[in-house]
């Protein structure tokens, strides 16, 4: 029977059916649900690792031990894991190993829109690209077969529209492969120069063998069309857009194995059509390869390298415009994401803005502290970059910025790659102040556990890293904890730590307001009679507060009674309700 499944859930089903028994990942939109779904199968051991590099190395260890293994991450996570990636290409695997990487063209929830297909070519690792949920399941399974047949890890490339779209799949039972024996093989698994020099030719021969495989595999299929004036080469979701726009009119070469690419198949297809067009999102990856083969091809001259494609953009490339619905004349205000009502980060960012500090930011929900009206963040680059960045910022300014600059980083992000930056602060002695926004969960990606929460991926009790002890062990002597709902305490803590003549860590601790176990207070009562419309409460950007001509109003369905707004109101117009 066919069921409707999210692409990521289908990929997890593929792992299950293929007999994968070890999963280690770090959450990241749009990849997270693969690992969360895999964890639902009792036959699969699944964990959140502190970061993607750890996850990939753990998955490699499991493969070495003889079990089919998996790690999943978002596109920027693969940058973190690039170090093991390039060398496990050399070692190959024992049992099959699959690495999912989920790109985010259109940047729905990311800081860049890098095209991860380049990693396949650069690391000489084959890459499969499903275009819907059924293929996500099928390709995940076939990735293991390819991995073991060619002795290589295999990349499974997802993208937002494949990962987060549901479509019909058919499931099959799991196969349970025997654990492969581990045999000590230094020349295969110890990558020091003497052995690595022997492995590199093996990798090149493997790519030749995979290229031959790419010629014959049905992963790369030609769909005939009635009109040979144009032929499309397409991968991933771009294939779906081509089919949606033109149906069976033009021939399509669909590449399911996007690296390494076939040669003869491309040449034969090119020769069969008058005009060859590559439809692909982001970079002209396939197009460049076609040019390397000397084929006359169009691609990025028709399609933007920026953002996502769609059926309309594909149709427009051949001059067909779709009639759009009417556009209203009234300007429609944008609706950007905002910090939730009751978010513990709000009071902290209000204080940082009030003190006019330079704030080196990081990746997580708290990146929203950059948005108006808080506008409290100066830079955001990547996971962990706040803690390392503030050190360079303060060193470069000869200490002049130390008293007016802070780094902000979440608990999960700190465990991911913030703590190595703190080691640098301690070791190389900058008097930097780092604020860890400890909301007891990995928030933005949808509430995943992490090493500071005391629970593992399956929700079972786990060792809890104690942030205070960790920071002290690194060598930071000034470590203090504040409640971000208490504005006065936050301001005192920030002022004192910035004034101190040594490095410091402030842990701003309060669980995410969306966590089920967090009990909210009664909504704040707005007293319009007392309100003077001074606008102080509007400076914190709380979605539950609005100012009307009659004075301040509270949306009781949103308000969690956190009381931060009341601390700003000099007229007592925002009072907490009696509890009980």
């Amino acid at each position: 029977m066919k069921t409707l499944m999210l692409g990521n859930v289908a990929a997890a089903r593929g792992l299950y059916e293929a007999g994968c028994s070890f999963v280690s990942s770090y959450p990241g939109t749009p990849s997270t649900e693969i690992t969360e779904s895999a964890a639902q199968y009792p036959e699969i051991y699944a964990e959140w690792a502190p970061n993607e590099k750890v996850a990939m190395e753990a998955a490699f260890g499991a493969s070495l031990a003889g079990r089919r293994s998996f790690c999943g991450m978002k596109h920027v996570g693969l940058n973190v894991a690039a170090d093991p990636l390039f060398t496990i290409s050399y070692t190959g695997v024992n049992a099959g190993m699959v690495i999912a990487v989920a790109d985010d063209a259109g940047m729905h929830s990311s800081q860049n829109e890098q095209d991860s297909r380049h990693y396949a070519r650069a690391s000489k690792i084959p890459m499969l690209e499903p275009s819907d949920a059924a293929e996500s399941l099928d390709y995940a399974k076939r990735a293991y077969a390819i991995s073991e047949q060619f002795d290589t890890p295999v990349l499974l490339k997802m993208c937002t529209r494949v990962a987060h779209s549901q479509s019909l799949v058919e499931t099959q039972p799991r196969v349970e492969p025997e654990q492969k024996p581990y045999e000590k093989t230094p020349q295969k698994y110890i990558m020091m120069p003497g052995y690595a020099k022997l492995r590199h030719p093996v990798v090149e021969a493997r790519t030749r063998a995979l290229t031959a495989f790419a010629e014959t595999t049905d992963l790369n299929r030609v769909e005939q069309g009635s009109d040979r004036s144009v032929g499309f080469i397409a991968d991933s979701t771009a294939y779906q857009y081509v089919k949606e726009a033109f149906g069976d009119r033009y021939p399509v070469l669909k590449l399911g194995l996007v690296w390494p690419m076939p040669e003869e198949k491309l040449r034969t297809f090119a020769a069969s059509v008058d005009r060859l067009i590559v439809a692909e999102e982001l970079d002209g990856f396939i197009e460049s390869h076609c040019r390397d083969l000397g084929l006359a091809v169009e691609g990025k001259s028709l399609f933007s390298p920026i953002g996502e494609l769609s059926q309309n953009t594909v149709a427009a490339a051949l001059g067909r415009q779709t009639a759009e619905g009417p556009k209203l004349e009234t300007p429609i205000p944008v609706r950007p994401p905002v910090m939730c009502a009751g978010c513990p980060h709000r009071g902290l960012f209000y204080t940082l803005k009030k003190l006019k500090l330079t704030v080196i930011g990081d990746i997580g929900c708290y990146t929203l502290g950059a948005a108006a009206p808080l506008g409290a963040i100066d830079s955001v680059i990547c996971m962990g970059a706040s803690v390392s960045g503030i050190h360079g910022f303060n060193k470069a300014s000869g200490g002049a910025s130390e008293g007016k600059t802070v780094a902000v980083i979440g608990d999960s992000t700190f465990m991911h790659s913030g703590m190595t930056g703190l080691v640098n602060i301690a070791y190389n002695d900058s008097k930097s102040t780092v604020i860890i926004l400890d909301n007891s969960i990995t928030g933005m990606t949808g509430h995943q556990q992490n090493p500071t929460t005391g629970k593992n991926l399956k929700g079972d009790p786990a060792a809890r890293i104690d942030l205070e002890s960790l920071c002290r062990a690194i060598g930071i002597r000034r470590v203090r904890v504040v409640d971000p709902y208490d504005l006065a305490a936050v301001e005192t803590a920030v002022r004192e730590e910035l004034a101190a003549d040594e490095a410091s860590v402030i842990i701003s601790r309060r669980p995410c307001a969306l966590l089920k176990y967090v009990k909210h207070k009664k909504p704040i009562l707005a007293d319009a009679d007392k309100c003077r419309k001074c606008g102080m409460c509007m400076r914190i950007g709380c979605p539950a507060i609005s100012m009307t001509e009659h004075g301040v109003q509270i949306d009781a369905t949103l308000c969690t009674g956190c009381g931060v707004c009341g601390q700003l109101c000099k007229f007592g117009a925002l009072a907490p309700q009696e509890e009980g």
């Binding site: 729905h108 089919k243 609706r335």
Partner: protein
């Protein structure tokens, strides 16, 4: 059958994922090819969210493009006005009249349009606007706006009440089944 396109739009956190889940369950029973596309991650934090539901004999693209939507079901008035270009000729907007101010309006940087429904109608759009929030509260919870909207949308399709009910039963937790059934019925009769 030609592909039908339903866009579900609203504000992150309003519960549009349940509406698309319900539609998915419903459509599955009729043997259609189906694609449902959701947005996860940052937009869910109070941003503008869009879910695409497409069904027919063969559906390729997971998204609905401008000029393609047969229905836009909106949880919030401004969001209905935001996506009018996605309507196809003869398409229809079903919208809750609830207004939720986005941050630029809250901070005074932008204005919430005075009367989006009249403007949409003036632009020639078929708009079915009603107070789904009050009906949800009447059913027992403001969170049930999604089922009120689905109930109202159900009048535009030929699925039987029994088929809808079976889909509701499969989509919501048992503890909330009665509430959701009430909300659906109120929306259907609105």
């Amino acid at each position: 059958m030609e592909t039908k396109n339903i866009m579900i739009v609203g504000v992150g956190g309003q519960g549009s994922l349940l509406a698309s889940k319900l539609l998915g369950r419903l459509l599955l029973t009729r043997g259609y090819d189906i694609k449902v596309s959701e947005v996860h991650g940052m937009s869910q934090r109070g941003g503008s969210v869009v879910t695409y539901v497409r069904f027919g004999s063969k559906v390729y693209s997971p998204i609905i493009d401008k000029g393609e939507a047969d229905f836009i079901v909106s949880f919030e008035l401004l969001e209905a006005a935001r996506y009018t270009q996605y309507l196809r000729k003869g398409g229809k907007i079903v919208t809750n009249t609830q207004r939720i101010n986005p941050m630029p309006v809250i901070t005074g940087a932008a204005r919430y349009p005075d009367d989006p429904v009249s403007e949409m109608r003036a632009a020639g759009i078929d708009v079915d606007a009603f107070d789904a929030l009050s009906l949800a509260e009447q059913a027992g919870s403001p969170r049930a706006v999604n089922l009120v909207l689905m109930g109202h949308l159900s009048n535009s399709f030929d699925f039987t009440p029994e088929e809808w009910d079976a889909a509701i039963e499969q989509s919501v937790p048992a503890a909330y089944l009665a509430l959701n059934r009430r909300a659906f019925a109120l929306g259907r009769n609105a």
